[in-house]
Symmetry: C2
Subunit: 333 residues, 2 copies
Protein backbone atom coordinates (compact mmCIF):
# COMPACT_ATOMS: atom_id res chain seq x y z
CA UNK A 1 0.00 0.00 0.00
CA UNK A 2 2.96 2.31 -0.48
CA UNK A 3 3.70 2.58 -4.18
CA UNK A 4 3.36 5.62 -6.34
CA UNK A 5 3.17 4.95 -10.01
CA UNK A 6 3.57 6.49 -13.43
CA UNK A 7 5.65 9.27 -11.94
CA UNK A 8 9.02 10.43 -13.04
CA UNK A 9 10.54 8.47 -10.23
CA UNK A 10 9.81 5.12 -8.63
CA UNK A 11 8.74 4.72 -5.03
CA UNK A 12 12.12 3.12 -4.37
CA UNK A 13 13.95 6.16 -5.76
CA UNK A 14 11.67 8.53 -3.87
CA UNK A 15 12.46 6.83 -0.57
CA UNK A 16 16.16 6.21 -1.12
CA UNK A 17 17.06 9.45 -2.83
CA UNK A 18 14.72 11.95 -1.20
CA UNK A 19 13.06 10.71 1.97
CA UNK A 20 15.83 8.77 3.72
CA UNK A 21 18.12 11.83 3.74
CA UNK A 22 15.28 13.78 5.41
CA UNK A 23 14.86 11.05 8.03
CA UNK A 24 18.57 10.67 8.79
CA UNK A 25 18.59 13.00 11.78
CA UNK A 26 15.48 11.54 13.41
CA UNK A 27 16.15 9.20 16.33
CA UNK A 28 12.72 7.65 15.70
CA UNK A 29 12.75 6.98 11.96
CA UNK A 30 14.72 3.69 11.95
CA UNK A 31 16.13 5.02 8.65
CA UNK A 32 12.64 4.42 7.14
CA UNK A 33 13.59 0.74 6.82
CA UNK A 34 10.71 -0.50 8.89
CA UNK A 35 7.44 1.03 7.63
CA UNK A 36 6.95 2.36 11.16
CA UNK A 37 8.48 4.86 13.56
CA UNK A 38 9.62 3.84 17.03
CA UNK A 39 9.22 6.44 19.75
CA UNK A 40 10.70 5.98 23.21
CA UNK A 41 8.77 8.48 25.33
CA UNK A 42 10.68 10.12 28.15
CA UNK A 43 9.43 9.23 31.62
CA UNK A 44 7.23 11.95 33.08
CA UNK A 45 6.14 13.26 29.70
CA UNK A 46 2.94 13.11 27.68
CA UNK A 47 2.73 13.16 23.91
CA UNK A 48 0.63 15.68 22.00
CA UNK A 49 -0.34 14.52 18.52
CA UNK A 50 -1.90 16.64 15.82
CA UNK A 51 -2.70 16.14 12.17
CA UNK A 52 -3.26 18.54 9.27
CA UNK A 53 -3.90 17.60 5.66
CA UNK A 54 -3.10 20.12 2.91
CA UNK A 55 -4.61 19.75 -0.53
CA UNK A 56 -3.54 21.63 -3.68
CA UNK A 57 -5.94 24.39 -4.73
CA UNK A 58 -7.68 24.09 -1.36
CA UNK A 59 -4.95 25.05 1.08
CA UNK A 60 -2.33 26.36 -1.29
CA UNK A 61 -2.21 27.72 -4.80
CA UNK A 62 -0.89 25.61 -7.66
CA UNK A 63 1.79 28.20 -8.33
CA UNK A 64 3.02 28.69 -4.81
CA UNK A 65 6.73 27.83 -4.69
CA UNK A 66 6.99 24.10 -4.08
CA UNK A 67 9.48 24.47 -1.24
CA UNK A 68 7.25 26.83 0.71
CA UNK A 69 4.29 24.45 0.37
CA UNK A 70 6.34 21.84 2.24
CA UNK A 71 7.47 24.35 4.84
CA UNK A 72 3.94 25.63 5.42
CA UNK A 73 2.71 22.05 5.90
CA UNK A 74 5.21 21.64 8.73
CA UNK A 75 4.54 25.08 10.18
CA UNK A 76 0.77 24.73 10.51
CA UNK A 77 1.35 21.58 12.53
CA UNK A 78 4.08 23.20 14.61
CA UNK A 79 1.61 25.99 15.34
CA UNK A 80 -0.83 23.41 16.72
CA UNK A 81 1.88 21.99 18.98
CA UNK A 82 2.89 25.47 20.16
CA UNK A 83 -0.71 26.24 21.15
CA UNK A 84 -0.59 23.20 23.46
CA UNK A 85 2.74 24.21 24.94
CA UNK A 86 4.40 21.09 23.49
CA UNK A 87 7.97 20.68 22.28
CA UNK A 88 8.13 19.25 18.72
CA UNK A 89 9.62 15.74 18.46
CA UNK A 90 9.01 14.83 14.83
CA UNK A 91 6.42 14.04 12.22
CA UNK A 92 5.01 11.43 9.86
CA UNK A 93 4.58 12.47 6.24
CA UNK A 94 1.86 11.27 3.89
CA UNK A 95 2.70 12.42 0.40
CA UNK A 96 0.33 12.16 -2.58
CA UNK A 97 2.03 13.05 -5.84
CA UNK A 98 -0.02 14.17 -8.85
CA UNK A 99 0.30 13.10 -12.47
CA UNK A 100 2.07 16.27 -13.55
CA UNK A 101 4.77 15.82 -10.96
CA UNK A 102 8.47 15.58 -11.77
CA UNK A 103 11.85 15.04 -10.19
CA UNK A 104 12.65 18.75 -9.91
CA UNK A 105 9.46 19.38 -7.98
CA UNK A 106 10.31 16.51 -5.63
CA UNK A 107 13.74 18.05 -5.14
CA UNK A 108 12.17 21.46 -4.35
CA UNK A 109 9.59 19.96 -2.02
CA UNK A 110 12.17 17.99 -0.07
CA UNK A 111 14.51 20.99 0.07
CA UNK A 112 11.63 22.85 1.74
CA UNK A 113 11.14 20.06 4.26
CA UNK A 114 14.91 19.96 4.88
CA UNK A 115 15.11 23.72 5.52
CA UNK A 116 12.36 23.76 8.10
CA UNK A 117 13.46 20.48 9.65
CA UNK A 118 16.72 22.22 10.52
CA UNK A 119 15.01 25.44 11.59
CA UNK A 120 12.69 23.68 13.99
CA UNK A 121 14.86 20.64 14.87
CA UNK A 122 11.95 18.46 13.86
CA UNK A 123 12.51 15.51 11.54
CA UNK A 124 10.41 13.07 9.54
CA UNK A 125 10.13 9.71 11.27
CA UNK A 126 7.91 7.77 8.87
CA UNK A 127 5.01 8.00 6.46
CA UNK A 128 3.54 6.83 3.20
CA UNK A 129 3.76 7.86 -0.44
CA UNK A 130 0.84 7.43 -2.81
CA UNK A 131 -0.47 8.61 -6.12
CA UNK A 132 -2.95 11.51 -5.98
CA UNK A 133 -3.52 12.16 -9.66
CA UNK A 134 -5.22 15.57 -9.62
CA UNK A 135 -3.71 17.34 -6.65
CA UNK A 136 -0.58 17.38 -4.56
CA UNK A 137 -1.47 16.19 -1.10
CA UNK A 138 0.54 16.57 2.09
CA UNK A 139 -0.66 14.91 5.28
CA UNK A 140 1.40 15.66 8.36
CA UNK A 141 1.03 13.99 11.75
CA UNK A 142 3.14 15.96 14.20
CA UNK A 143 4.18 14.70 17.63
CA UNK A 144 5.32 16.84 20.51
CA UNK A 145 6.12 16.16 24.14
CA UNK A 146 5.14 17.98 27.26
CA UNK A 147 5.61 17.37 30.98
CA UNK A 148 2.88 15.05 32.20
CA UNK A 149 -0.36 16.85 32.94
CA UNK A 150 0.90 20.19 31.58
CA UNK A 151 -0.90 20.41 28.22
CA UNK A 152 -2.72 23.69 27.64
CA UNK A 153 -6.29 23.09 26.49
CA UNK A 154 -8.71 25.11 24.43
CA UNK A 155 -11.70 24.61 26.66
CA UNK A 156 -10.38 25.96 29.95
CA UNK A 157 -10.79 29.73 29.58
CA UNK A 158 -12.82 31.28 32.43
CA UNK A 159 -14.72 34.52 32.90
CA UNK A 160 -12.32 37.28 33.85
CA UNK A 161 -9.38 35.92 31.86
CA UNK A 162 -7.67 38.37 29.57
CA UNK A 163 -7.58 37.49 25.87
CA UNK A 164 -4.27 37.88 24.06
CA UNK A 165 -3.28 37.32 20.47
CA UNK A 166 0.25 36.86 19.18
CA UNK A 167 1.73 38.61 16.13
CA UNK A 168 -0.52 40.27 13.57
CA UNK A 169 -3.84 39.17 12.12
CA UNK A 170 -5.20 38.96 8.59
CA UNK A 171 -2.09 39.07 6.42
CA UNK A 172 -2.58 35.68 4.78
CA UNK A 173 -6.31 36.16 4.25
CA UNK A 174 -5.73 39.54 2.61
CA UNK A 175 -3.21 37.94 0.24
CA UNK A 176 -5.76 35.30 -0.72
CA UNK A 177 -8.42 37.97 -1.28
CA UNK A 178 -6.02 39.87 -3.55
CA UNK A 179 -5.34 36.68 -5.55
CA UNK A 180 -9.09 36.26 -6.04
CA UNK A 181 -9.45 39.94 -6.94
CA UNK A 182 -11.85 40.54 -4.08
CA UNK A 183 -9.54 43.32 -2.97
CA UNK A 184 -7.05 45.38 -4.92
CA UNK A 185 -3.40 44.98 -4.07
CA UNK A 186 -1.46 47.62 -2.14
CA UNK A 187 1.98 48.61 -3.42
CA UNK A 188 4.42 45.88 -4.42
CA UNK A 189 6.35 45.86 -1.19
CA UNK A 190 3.22 45.43 0.92
CA UNK A 191 1.78 42.82 -1.46
CA UNK A 192 5.05 40.91 -1.22
CA UNK A 193 4.92 41.06 2.57
CA UNK A 194 1.36 39.71 2.68
CA UNK A 195 2.21 36.90 0.26
CA UNK A 196 5.16 35.88 2.39
CA UNK A 197 2.94 35.75 5.45
CA UNK A 198 0.58 33.47 3.50
CA UNK A 199 3.38 31.26 2.22
CA UNK A 200 5.38 30.99 5.40
CA UNK A 201 3.43 31.45 8.61
CA UNK A 202 5.69 31.69 11.62
CA UNK A 203 4.63 29.19 14.29
CA UNK A 204 4.93 30.89 17.66
CA UNK A 205 7.05 28.17 19.21
CA UNK A 206 9.02 30.64 21.30
CA UNK A 207 5.82 31.39 23.22
CA UNK A 208 5.64 27.80 24.48
CA UNK A 209 7.29 28.57 27.82
CA UNK A 210 4.97 31.53 28.51
CA UNK A 211 1.97 29.37 27.61
CA UNK A 212 3.15 26.49 29.79
CA UNK A 213 3.54 28.82 32.76
CA UNK A 214 0.71 31.33 32.45
CA UNK A 215 -1.98 30.35 29.95
CA UNK A 216 -5.36 29.19 31.22
CA UNK A 217 -6.29 28.15 27.66
CA UNK A 218 -4.91 28.58 24.16
CA UNK A 219 -5.55 27.69 20.53
CA UNK A 220 -3.99 28.55 17.22
CA UNK A 221 -5.89 30.60 14.68
CA UNK A 222 -6.29 28.65 11.48
CA UNK A 223 -9.86 29.45 10.49
CA UNK A 224 -9.96 33.18 11.34
CA UNK A 225 -9.76 35.08 14.60
CA UNK A 226 -13.51 35.54 14.98
CA UNK A 227 -14.51 31.98 14.17
CA UNK A 228 -11.76 30.42 16.24
CA UNK A 229 -12.47 32.67 19.20
CA UNK A 230 -16.10 31.57 19.05
CA UNK A 231 -14.91 27.95 19.09
CA UNK A 232 -12.72 28.64 22.12
CA UNK A 233 -15.61 30.37 23.93
CA UNK A 234 -18.06 27.57 23.19
CA UNK A 235 -15.60 24.88 24.25
CA UNK A 236 -14.98 26.80 27.50
CA UNK A 237 -18.64 27.75 28.07
CA UNK A 238 -17.83 31.44 28.27
CA UNK A 239 -18.42 34.55 26.16
CA UNK A 240 -15.84 37.10 25.10
CA UNK A 241 -15.83 40.86 24.64
CA UNK A 242 -13.51 41.81 21.84
CA UNK A 243 -11.87 45.21 21.43
CA UNK A 244 -11.69 45.43 17.65
CA UNK A 245 -9.68 48.62 17.87
CA UNK A 246 -6.84 46.82 19.56
CA UNK A 247 -6.42 43.99 17.07
CA UNK A 248 -2.82 44.04 15.87
CA UNK A 249 -2.31 44.46 12.12
CA UNK A 250 0.86 44.64 10.10
CA UNK A 251 1.51 47.94 8.29
CA UNK A 252 0.56 46.25 5.01
CA UNK A 253 -2.72 44.92 6.40
CA UNK A 254 -3.50 48.19 8.17
CA UNK A 255 -3.11 50.13 4.92
CA UNK A 256 -5.72 47.90 3.27
CA UNK A 257 -8.10 47.80 6.22
CA UNK A 258 -8.17 51.53 6.90
CA UNK A 259 -11.83 52.43 6.40
CA UNK A 260 -12.58 49.35 4.27
CA UNK A 261 -15.13 47.11 5.89
CA UNK A 262 -14.62 44.22 3.47
CA UNK A 263 -10.89 44.14 4.09
CA UNK A 264 -11.42 44.21 7.84
CA UNK A 265 -13.96 41.40 7.68
CA UNK A 266 -11.60 39.32 5.58
CA UNK A 267 -8.71 39.98 7.97
CA UNK A 268 -10.75 38.92 10.97
CA UNK A 269 -12.49 35.89 9.49
CA UNK A 270 -10.24 34.71 6.64
CA UNK A 271 -7.93 32.42 8.54
CA UNK A 272 -4.48 31.01 7.83
CA UNK A 273 -2.96 33.22 10.56
CA UNK A 274 -1.28 30.55 12.70
CA UNK A 275 -1.04 33.04 15.51
CA UNK A 276 -2.20 32.07 19.00
CA UNK A 277 -5.22 33.06 21.06
CA UNK A 278 -4.28 32.88 24.73
CA UNK A 279 -6.43 33.24 27.85
CA UNK A 280 -4.48 34.48 30.86
CA UNK A 281 -5.82 34.98 34.39
CA UNK A 282 -5.73 38.68 35.38
CA UNK A 283 -3.23 37.91 38.14
CA UNK A 284 -0.74 36.63 35.55
CA UNK A 285 -0.98 39.15 32.73
CA UNK A 286 2.17 41.04 33.64
CA UNK A 287 4.19 37.85 34.04
CA UNK A 288 2.83 36.54 30.74
CA UNK A 289 3.70 39.76 28.93
CA UNK A 290 7.16 39.77 30.45
CA UNK A 291 7.81 36.15 29.45
CA UNK A 292 6.52 36.81 25.92
CA UNK A 293 8.76 39.85 25.68
CA UNK A 294 11.72 37.79 26.82
CA UNK A 295 10.90 35.34 24.01
CA UNK A 296 10.66 38.28 21.56
CA UNK A 297 7.06 37.44 20.69
CA UNK A 298 4.62 40.30 20.37
CA UNK A 299 1.39 39.68 22.26
CA UNK A 300 -1.56 42.07 22.38
CA UNK A 301 -4.53 42.25 24.76
CA UNK A 302 -7.60 42.26 22.55
CA UNK A 303 -10.42 41.47 24.94
CA UNK A 304 -11.68 39.67 27.99
CA UNK A 305 -13.62 36.49 28.66
CA UNK A 306 -16.95 36.92 30.43
CA UNK A 307 -19.70 34.79 31.90
CA UNK A 308 -21.54 32.89 29.20
CA UNK A 309 -24.22 35.10 27.61
CA UNK A 310 -26.66 34.78 24.73
CA UNK A 311 -24.13 36.35 22.42
CA UNK A 312 -20.91 34.37 22.39
CA UNK A 313 -19.05 37.46 21.18
CA UNK A 314 -19.67 41.10 21.94
CA UNK A 315 -17.62 44.09 20.86
CA UNK A 316 -16.43 47.16 22.74
CA UNK A 317 -16.55 49.20 19.63
CA UNK A 318 -18.19 47.44 16.70
CA UNK A 319 -19.03 49.92 13.99
CA UNK A 320 -22.66 49.52 12.87
CA UNK A 321 -21.66 47.96 9.56
CA UNK A 322 -19.67 45.21 11.21
CA UNK A 323 -21.41 41.90 10.94
CA UNK A 324 -19.83 38.51 11.04
CA UNK A 325 -22.35 36.36 9.29
CA UNK A 326 -19.47 34.60 7.69
CA UNK A 327 -17.62 33.88 10.88
CA UNK A 328 -15.00 31.53 9.62
CA UNK A 329 -12.76 30.58 6.81
CA UNK A 330 -13.92 28.63 3.80
CA UNK A 331 -11.05 27.23 1.87
CA UNK A 332 -10.54 28.53 -1.62
CA UNK A 333 -11.10 25.95 -4.31
CA UNK B 1 -7.00 24.56 8.17
CA UNK B 2 -9.76 22.18 9.06
CA UNK B 3 -12.86 23.12 7.07
CA UNK B 4 -14.54 21.13 4.40
CA UNK B 5 -16.80 23.07 2.14
CA UNK B 6 -19.59 22.80 -0.36
CA UNK B 7 -20.50 19.43 1.03
CA UNK B 8 -23.85 18.27 2.19
CA UNK B 9 -22.75 18.88 5.72
CA UNK B 10 -20.66 21.50 7.44
CA UNK B 11 -17.39 20.76 9.19
CA UNK B 12 -19.15 21.48 12.47
CA UNK B 13 -21.87 18.91 11.74
CA UNK B 14 -19.30 16.39 10.58
CA UNK B 15 -17.37 16.68 13.83
CA UNK B 16 -20.33 16.90 16.21
CA UNK B 17 -22.61 14.37 14.57
CA UNK B 18 -20.18 11.84 13.15
CA UNK B 19 -16.66 12.11 14.51
CA UNK B 20 -17.19 12.86 18.19
CA UNK B 21 -19.27 9.70 18.68
CA UNK B 22 -16.39 7.73 17.14
CA UNK B 23 -13.91 9.37 19.52
CA UNK B 24 -16.00 8.92 22.64
CA UNK B 25 -14.34 5.70 23.76
CA UNK B 26 -10.78 6.93 23.24
CA UNK B 27 -8.96 7.95 26.41
CA UNK B 28 -6.67 10.10 24.23
CA UNK B 29 -9.13 12.06 22.06
CA UNK B 30 -10.07 14.82 24.55
CA UNK B 31 -13.51 14.55 22.92
CA UNK B 32 -11.94 16.14 19.80
CA UNK B 33 -12.29 19.51 21.52
CA UNK B 34 -8.62 20.34 21.34
CA UNK B 35 -7.36 19.85 17.79
CA UNK B 36 -4.82 17.45 19.27
CA UNK B 37 -4.65 14.07 20.96
CA UNK B 38 -2.97 13.61 24.31
CA UNK B 39 -1.24 10.30 24.87
CA UNK B 40 0.11 9.28 28.27
CA UNK B 41 2.55 6.50 27.46
CA UNK B 42 2.86 3.71 29.99
CA UNK B 43 6.24 3.47 31.69
CA UNK B 44 8.42 0.78 30.17
CA UNK B 45 6.74 0.92 26.79
CA UNK B 46 7.70 2.27 23.38
CA UNK B 47 5.28 3.57 20.78
CA UNK B 48 5.13 2.22 17.25
CA UNK B 49 3.65 4.67 14.75
CA UNK B 50 2.64 3.91 11.20
CA UNK B 51 0.81 5.77 8.48
CA UNK B 52 -1.09 4.67 5.39
CA UNK B 53 -2.94 6.89 2.96
CA UNK B 54 -5.74 5.42 0.83
CA UNK B 55 -6.93 7.20 -2.29
CA UNK B 56 -10.11 6.44 -4.26
CA UNK B 57 -9.50 4.61 -7.54
CA UNK B 58 -5.90 3.96 -6.43
CA UNK B 59 -6.37 1.81 -3.33
CA UNK B 60 -10.06 1.06 -3.56
CA UNK B 61 -12.72 1.03 -6.21
CA UNK B 62 -15.29 3.80 -6.43
CA UNK B 63 -18.06 1.27 -5.97
CA UNK B 64 -16.64 -0.63 -3.03
CA UNK B 65 -19.11 -0.42 -0.14
CA UNK B 66 -18.33 2.79 1.74
CA UNK B 67 -18.26 1.07 5.12
CA UNK B 68 -15.70 -1.49 4.03
CA UNK B 69 -13.44 1.26 2.66
CA UNK B 70 -13.28 2.70 6.17
CA UNK B 71 -12.70 -0.70 7.72
CA UNK B 72 -9.94 -1.57 5.25
CA UNK B 73 -8.20 1.75 6.01
CA UNK B 74 -8.03 0.74 9.67
CA UNK B 75 -7.07 -2.84 8.93
CA UNK B 76 -4.08 -2.08 6.71
CA UNK B 77 -2.67 0.03 9.53
CA UNK B 78 -3.46 -2.61 12.13
CA UNK B 79 -1.59 -5.07 9.96
CA UNK B 80 1.49 -2.83 10.10
CA UNK B 81 1.27 -2.71 13.90
CA UNK B 82 0.82 -6.50 14.09
CA UNK B 83 3.98 -7.02 12.04
CA UNK B 84 5.91 -5.06 14.68
CA UNK B 85 4.36 -7.02 17.53
CA UNK B 86 2.65 -3.86 18.83
CA UNK B 87 -0.69 -3.57 20.62
CA UNK B 88 -3.02 -1.01 18.93
CA UNK B 89 -3.75 2.11 21.03
CA UNK B 90 -5.64 4.32 18.60
CA UNK B 91 -5.41 6.36 15.42
CA UNK B 92 -5.62 9.81 13.88
CA UNK B 93 -7.91 10.19 10.90
CA UNK B 94 -7.36 12.53 7.96
CA UNK B 95 -10.50 12.57 5.87
CA UNK B 96 -10.77 14.22 2.44
CA UNK B 97 -14.34 14.31 1.16
CA UNK B 98 -15.06 14.64 -2.56
CA UNK B 99 -17.57 16.88 -4.30
CA UNK B 100 -20.04 14.08 -4.93
CA UNK B 101 -20.18 13.18 -1.26
CA UNK B 102 -23.36 13.17 0.80
CA UNK B 103 -24.65 12.59 4.30
CA UNK B 104 -25.58 8.95 3.71
CA UNK B 105 -22.05 8.15 2.57
CA UNK B 106 -20.68 9.85 5.68
CA UNK B 107 -23.03 7.75 7.77
CA UNK B 108 -21.87 4.57 6.01
CA UNK B 109 -18.21 5.50 6.29
CA UNK B 110 -18.49 6.23 10.00
CA UNK B 111 -20.50 3.07 10.60
CA UNK B 112 -17.57 1.20 9.08
CA UNK B 113 -15.10 2.93 11.37
CA UNK B 114 -17.38 2.26 14.35
CA UNK B 115 -17.64 -1.46 13.56
CA UNK B 116 -13.92 -2.02 13.36
CA UNK B 117 -13.19 0.30 16.26
CA UNK B 118 -15.20 -2.11 18.40
CA UNK B 119 -13.71 -5.20 16.79
CA UNK B 120 -10.15 -4.08 17.41
CA UNK B 121 -10.68 -1.92 20.52
CA UNK B 122 -8.94 0.88 18.67
CA UNK B 123 -10.49 4.35 18.60
CA UNK B 124 -9.96 7.62 16.77
CA UNK B 125 -8.10 10.16 18.88
CA UNK B 126 -7.84 13.12 16.52
CA UNK B 127 -7.41 14.19 12.93
CA UNK B 128 -8.40 16.64 10.24
CA UNK B 129 -11.17 16.94 7.67
CA UNK B 130 -10.60 18.60 4.31
CA UNK B 131 -12.07 18.87 0.87
CA UNK B 132 -10.61 16.51 -1.73
CA UNK B 133 -12.78 17.30 -4.75
CA UNK B 134 -12.04 14.39 -7.09
CA UNK B 135 -11.36 11.47 -4.76
CA UNK B 136 -12.22 10.24 -1.31
CA UNK B 137 -9.05 10.26 0.73
CA UNK B 138 -8.41 8.46 4.02
CA UNK B 139 -5.14 9.03 5.85
CA UNK B 140 -4.64 6.97 8.98
CA UNK B 141 -1.84 7.36 11.49
CA UNK B 142 -1.99 4.36 13.80
CA UNK B 143 -0.25 4.17 17.16
CA UNK B 144 0.58 1.00 19.04
CA UNK B 145 2.56 0.21 22.16
CA UNK B 146 5.11 -2.42 22.88
CA UNK B 147 7.38 -3.25 25.79
CA UNK B 148 10.52 -1.15 25.56
CA UNK B 149 13.08 -2.60 23.21
CA UNK B 150 10.78 -5.38 21.98
CA UNK B 151 9.76 -4.13 18.53
CA UNK B 152 10.21 -6.67 15.76
CA UNK B 153 12.09 -5.19 12.82
CA UNK B 154 12.14 -5.97 9.14
CA UNK B 155 15.89 -5.86 8.71
CA UNK B 156 16.97 -8.45 11.26
CA UNK B 157 16.45 -11.75 9.42
CA UNK B 158 19.59 -13.88 9.33
CA UNK B 159 20.83 -16.76 7.20
CA UNK B 160 19.34 -20.00 8.46
CA UNK B 161 16.07 -18.48 9.63
CA UNK B 162 12.92 -20.19 8.45
CA UNK B 163 10.48 -18.06 6.44
CA UNK B 164 6.82 -18.28 7.38
CA UNK B 165 3.76 -16.62 5.92
CA UNK B 166 0.39 -16.27 7.63
CA UNK B 167 -2.99 -17.01 6.06
CA UNK B 168 -3.33 -17.28 2.29
CA UNK B 169 -1.76 -15.29 -0.51
CA UNK B 170 -3.13 -13.63 -3.65
CA UNK B 171 -6.86 -13.43 -2.95
CA UNK B 172 -7.13 -9.64 -3.15
CA UNK B 173 -4.86 -9.34 -6.17
CA UNK B 174 -6.87 -11.97 -8.03
CA UNK B 175 -10.07 -10.03 -7.29
CA UNK B 176 -8.50 -6.87 -8.71
CA UNK B 177 -7.35 -8.74 -11.82
CA UNK B 178 -10.89 -10.03 -12.32
CA UNK B 179 -12.25 -6.48 -12.03
CA UNK B 180 -9.82 -5.37 -14.74
CA UNK B 181 -10.70 -8.40 -16.85
CA UNK B 182 -7.13 -9.61 -16.86
CA UNK B 183 -8.46 -12.91 -15.55
CA UNK B 184 -11.87 -14.48 -15.85
CA UNK B 185 -13.88 -14.95 -12.71
CA UNK B 186 -14.34 -18.34 -11.09
CA UNK B 187 -17.84 -19.33 -9.95
CA UNK B 188 -19.89 -16.82 -7.97
CA UNK B 189 -19.08 -18.21 -4.57
CA UNK B 190 -15.34 -18.11 -5.19
CA UNK B 191 -15.53 -14.64 -6.76
CA UNK B 192 -17.45 -13.46 -3.72
CA UNK B 193 -14.82 -14.92 -1.41
CA UNK B 194 -11.98 -13.19 -3.27
CA UNK B 195 -13.82 -9.87 -3.26
CA UNK B 196 -14.35 -10.13 0.49
CA UNK B 197 -10.68 -10.77 1.01
CA UNK B 198 -9.95 -7.62 -1.03
CA UNK B 199 -12.52 -5.52 0.82
CA UNK B 200 -11.77 -6.71 4.31
CA UNK B 201 -8.26 -7.99 4.91
CA UNK B 202 -7.88 -9.61 8.29
CA UNK B 203 -4.95 -8.09 10.19
CA UNK B 204 -3.12 -10.89 11.95
CA UNK B 205 -3.19 -9.25 15.36
CA UNK B 206 -3.58 -12.55 17.16
CA UNK B 207 -0.09 -13.46 15.96
CA UNK B 208 1.43 -10.55 17.93
CA UNK B 209 2.38 -12.69 20.93
CA UNK B 210 4.07 -15.32 18.75
CA UNK B 211 5.96 -12.59 16.91
CA UNK B 212 7.01 -10.87 20.13
CA UNK B 213 8.38 -14.14 21.48
CA UNK B 214 9.85 -15.92 18.50
CA UNK B 215 10.23 -13.74 15.40
CA UNK B 216 13.71 -12.63 14.35
CA UNK B 217 12.12 -10.27 11.79
CA UNK B 218 8.70 -9.63 10.30
CA UNK B 219 6.83 -7.42 7.85
CA UNK B 220 3.35 -7.27 6.46
CA UNK B 221 2.70 -8.00 2.80
CA UNK B 222 1.11 -5.00 1.16
CA UNK B 223 2.92 -4.86 -2.18
CA UNK B 224 3.00 -8.57 -3.01
CA UNK B 225 4.79 -11.54 -1.45
CA UNK B 226 7.67 -11.54 -3.93
CA UNK B 227 8.37 -7.81 -3.84
CA UNK B 228 8.03 -7.51 -0.09
CA UNK B 229 10.21 -10.56 0.53
CA UNK B 230 12.88 -8.95 -1.64
CA UNK B 231 12.60 -5.78 0.49
CA UNK B 232 12.94 -7.82 3.67
CA UNK B 233 15.99 -9.63 2.28
CA UNK B 234 17.68 -6.44 1.13
CA UNK B 235 17.01 -4.67 4.43
CA UNK B 236 18.48 -7.69 6.27
CA UNK B 237 21.38 -8.25 3.82
CA UNK B 238 20.39 -11.84 3.19
CA UNK B 239 18.93 -13.87 0.34
CA UNK B 240 15.98 -16.23 0.48
CA UNK B 241 15.12 -19.52 -1.13
CA UNK B 242 11.42 -19.78 -1.70
CA UNK B 243 9.45 -23.00 -2.07
CA UNK B 244 6.73 -21.88 -4.47
CA UNK B 245 4.94 -25.20 -4.09
CA UNK B 246 4.31 -24.55 -0.42
CA UNK B 247 2.74 -21.09 -0.76
CA UNK B 248 -0.68 -21.27 0.88
CA UNK B 249 -3.62 -20.40 -1.34
CA UNK B 250 -7.32 -20.29 -0.58
CA UNK B 251 -9.48 -22.78 -2.46
CA UNK B 252 -10.77 -19.92 -4.62
CA UNK B 253 -7.28 -18.71 -5.47
CA UNK B 254 -5.99 -22.24 -6.02
CA UNK B 255 -8.75 -22.93 -8.54
CA UNK B 256 -7.66 -19.90 -10.58
CA UNK B 257 -3.93 -20.51 -10.26
CA UNK B 258 -3.98 -24.18 -11.20
CA UNK B 259 -1.79 -24.30 -14.31
CA UNK B 260 -2.25 -20.60 -15.11
CA UNK B 261 1.01 -18.74 -15.00
CA UNK B 262 -0.58 -15.29 -15.19
CA UNK B 263 -2.85 -15.98 -12.22
CA UNK B 264 0.07 -17.29 -10.18
CA UNK B 265 2.20 -14.28 -11.00
CA UNK B 266 -0.62 -11.96 -10.02
CA UNK B 267 -1.18 -13.84 -6.77
CA UNK B 268 2.48 -13.63 -5.84
CA UNK B 269 3.18 -10.06 -6.89
CA UNK B 270 -0.18 -8.30 -6.78
CA UNK B 271 -0.25 -7.18 -3.17
CA UNK B 272 -3.02 -6.15 -0.80
CA UNK B 273 -2.59 -9.36 1.19
CA UNK B 274 -1.96 -7.93 4.66
CA UNK B 275 -0.58 -11.24 5.75
CA UNK B 276 2.76 -11.41 7.56
CA UNK B 277 6.18 -12.63 6.50
CA UNK B 278 8.00 -13.88 9.57
CA UNK B 279 11.62 -15.01 10.00
CA UNK B 280 12.06 -17.51 12.82
CA UNK B 281 15.34 -19.02 14.01
CA UNK B 282 15.41 -22.81 13.40
CA UNK B 283 15.58 -23.44 17.16
CA UNK B 284 12.21 -21.71 17.63
CA UNK B 285 10.13 -22.99 14.76
CA UNK B 286 8.20 -25.53 16.80
CA UNK B 287 7.46 -23.02 19.55
CA UNK B 288 6.40 -20.43 16.98
CA UNK B 289 4.09 -22.87 15.24
CA UNK B 290 2.61 -23.95 18.57
CA UNK B 291 2.00 -20.35 19.65
CA UNK B 292 0.43 -19.51 16.26
CA UNK B 293 -1.78 -22.56 16.54
CA UNK B 294 -2.84 -21.49 20.04
CA UNK B 295 -3.82 -18.11 18.51
CA UNK B 296 -5.72 -19.93 15.72
CA UNK B 297 -3.58 -18.32 13.04
CA UNK B 298 -2.45 -20.50 10.14
CA UNK B 299 1.24 -20.12 9.41
CA UNK B 300 3.10 -21.94 6.63
CA UNK B 301 6.83 -22.51 6.09
CA UNK B 302 7.56 -21.27 2.59
CA UNK B 303 11.33 -21.00 2.51
CA UNK B 304 14.57 -20.22 4.26
CA UNK B 305 16.88 -17.25 4.50
CA UNK B 306 20.41 -17.80 3.23
CA UNK B 307 23.71 -15.96 3.07
CA UNK B 308 23.48 -12.99 0.76
CA UNK B 309 24.04 -14.05 -2.85
CA UNK B 310 23.89 -12.38 -6.26
CA UNK B 311 20.28 -13.40 -6.59
CA UNK B 312 18.18 -12.02 -3.73
CA UNK B 313 15.59 -14.72 -4.35
CA UNK B 314 16.00 -18.23 -5.56
CA UNK B 315 13.36 -20.92 -5.93
CA UNK B 316 13.33 -24.58 -4.99
CA UNK B 317 11.04 -25.36 -7.81
CA UNK B 318 10.48 -22.45 -10.21
CA UNK B 319 8.87 -23.63 -13.39
CA UNK B 320 10.81 -22.36 -16.41
CA UNK B 321 8.08 -19.86 -17.31
CA UNK B 322 8.16 -18.21 -13.91
CA UNK B 323 9.74 -14.80 -14.09
CA UNK B 324 9.18 -11.93 -11.75
CA UNK B 325 10.13 -8.98 -13.85
CA UNK B 326 7.22 -7.18 -12.29
CA UNK B 327 8.16 -7.95 -8.72
CA UNK B 328 5.74 -5.72 -6.94
CA UNK B 329 2.36 -4.19 -6.89
CA UNK B 330 1.47 -1.13 -8.92
CA UNK B 331 -1.73 0.39 -7.74
CA UNK B 332 -4.67 0.31 -10.07
CA UNK B 333 -5.73 3.71 -11.32
Amino acid sequence: MTAIEAQHLSEHELIEEFLKPLAKSSPYSLNLDDDAALLKPRPGHDLVITKDVLVERIHFFENDPTGTIARKALRVNLSDLASKGARPLGYLLGLGLPKNWNRQKTRDLCAGFATDQETFDFYVMGGDTVSSPERLLISITAIGEIKSGQMTHRNTATAGDVLYVSGTIGDAALHTAICYKKLSAPDDEKAHFLRNRFLLPDPVIALTAAIDQYAKAAMDISDGLIGDLVKMCKASSVSAKLDLGSIPYSAAAASMISGQRLAQQIALTGGDDYELLVAVGPENTLSFEKEASRASIAVTRIGVFEERADETLSFCDAPPWMSFEKMSYEHFS
